[in-house]
């Protein structure tokens, strides 16, 4: 096809598109263009109105609709659990060399829709969301707290008050352990 021929086809397709926009919006009368150069071909008009009128719209069965709704609700509830465990948590993308595949089409479609800057950023870091804060932070703090208490219990304090308390505790312990005459002990 020549360049001019291709341009003419594109113009014709554009005019048809405008006509279809109006037709599908339910304004068939308005869809008839006033400009005689922009008149849509009669055969195309007929085919358009036939397809608009005759192609049936289907709806899945009520049973299927409700079954899938229930399944989605169950899945959604299980997705909500991590958030409930730590409501203040935020979902952040985790850097990954092998990002999970995008369910919405392949890369060639993404490339068509996505600006170059976003595509480059996507290549650097994507996918695998992780819940940070909330439950993770709370667990980490609990572990850190337990470790600190254990460390304090085993560590000898350096302050005079602590030394005095330790000496008093040791004296009391030795008094208890020392056998009292006449109150038992080895014969």
């Amino acid at each position: 096809m020549t360049h001019l021929g291709r341009e003419a086809a594109e113009v014709e397709a554009l005019v048809t598109d405008v006509y279809l926009d109006a037709l599908l919006a339910g304004a068939e009368r308005a869809a008839r263009p006033r400009d005689p150069r922009a008149i849509v071909d009669a055969a195309v008009r007929l085919a358009s109105s036939r397809l608009t009128r005759d192609l049936p719209r289907f709806h899945p069965s009520f049973r299927f609709e409700e079954r899938l709704a229930l399944r989605l609700a169950e899945r959604a509830a299980s997705m909500r659990l991590p958030a409930a465990a730590g409501a203040e948590g935020v979902v952040v993308p985790l850097l990954s060399r092998h990002p999970a595949p995008d369910p919405a089409a392949g890369d060639e479609v993404d490339a068509a829709l996505e600006p170059a800057s976003e595509r480059a950023a996507r290549g650097r870091a994507v996918a695998r969301p992780i819940l940070l804060g909330g439950a993770v932070a709370a667990s980490a703090l609990s572990l850190a707290g337990a470790a600190f208490v254990a460390w304090r219990r085993n560590r000898g304090a350096a302050s005079p008050m602590a030394r005095a308390a330790r000496a008093a505790h040791a004296a009391r312990a030795s008094r208890i352990l020392r056998p009292t005459p006449g109150r038992g002990g080895p014969a």
Binding site: L24, A47, A73
Partner: protein, 212 residues
């Protein structure tokens, strides 16, 4: 109705702000992101369109139900990764969520086709004869015309048929179809225009023999 707002894309990289059209699904998408159980509203809105798309592509109710189910499960599981990528060229009222969802459906359908190559399939022409919804239509003339339109669409090459179904059955805009099919808007317009010409020829040739 879509609202036009400015939003900053890649502010850290110094990219200039650009105009984006917020589609009508944004409140529902945000609600579903905050609470996945509210995905139900999006599901109810797009169940029939996705099912229609799958049915016209696969020509079988059970396969269409399977594809619809997989589409919505994948959409729910990956909603956190959905990014609104609306551009001024997408036009007023364009829904990037709808485009994203139909792209998932397109991939699910492609996988279904690949996996069902070993299984016997029902052609679209045969499916038209089995389609229950047409049976409720008492007008025999209308039924014959509907069947003729269905056959004409069924004979189109795959890409043209897909574009016609998205345009006439699911009533997507040209920009949205371009997003779903991964083509330019101009290419989609030409695709639909050629499909209409082919359907017109087909309907004309079908009418010819019966008129005789």
């Amino acid at each position: 109705m879509a609202r036009a707002v400015f939003w900053r894309s890649g502010a850290a990289t110094g990219v200039a702000p650009r105009l984006a059209h917020l589609d009508r699904d944004r409140p529902l998408v945000e609600a579903a992101l905050a609470d996945p159980t509210r995905f139900d509203a999006l599901y109810r809105r797009y169940l029939a369109p996705v099912y229609n798309f799958a049915y016209y592509e696969l020509g079988d109710h059970h396969a269409a139900e399977d594809a619809t189910e997989r589409t919505f499960l994948a959409a729910l599981a990956n909603l956190v990764r959905f990014r609104e990528r609306a551009r001024p060229a997408d036009g007023e009222g364009a829904s990037t969520f709808k485009v994203w969802l139909f792209r998932i459906a397109r991939n699910v359908i492609a996988n279904e086709r690949r996996s069902s190559r070993r299984r016997p399939t029902v052609a679209l022409d045969d499916a038209a004869a089995l389609a229950d919804p047409l049976d409720v239509e008492r007008d025999a003339g209308r039924r014959i015309e509907a069947a003729a339109a269905w056959r004409a669409v069924g004979r189109l090459p795959e890409d043209r048929r897909r574009a016609v179904v998205l345009r006439f059955v699911d009533e997507l805009s040209t920009a949205e179809i371009a997003g779903v099919l991964g083509r330019s808007e101009g290419a989609v317009r030409v695709l639909i225009h050629r499909a209409l010409r082919a359907v017109a020829r087909d309907l004309g040739s079908q009418r010819g023999p019966t008129a005789r």
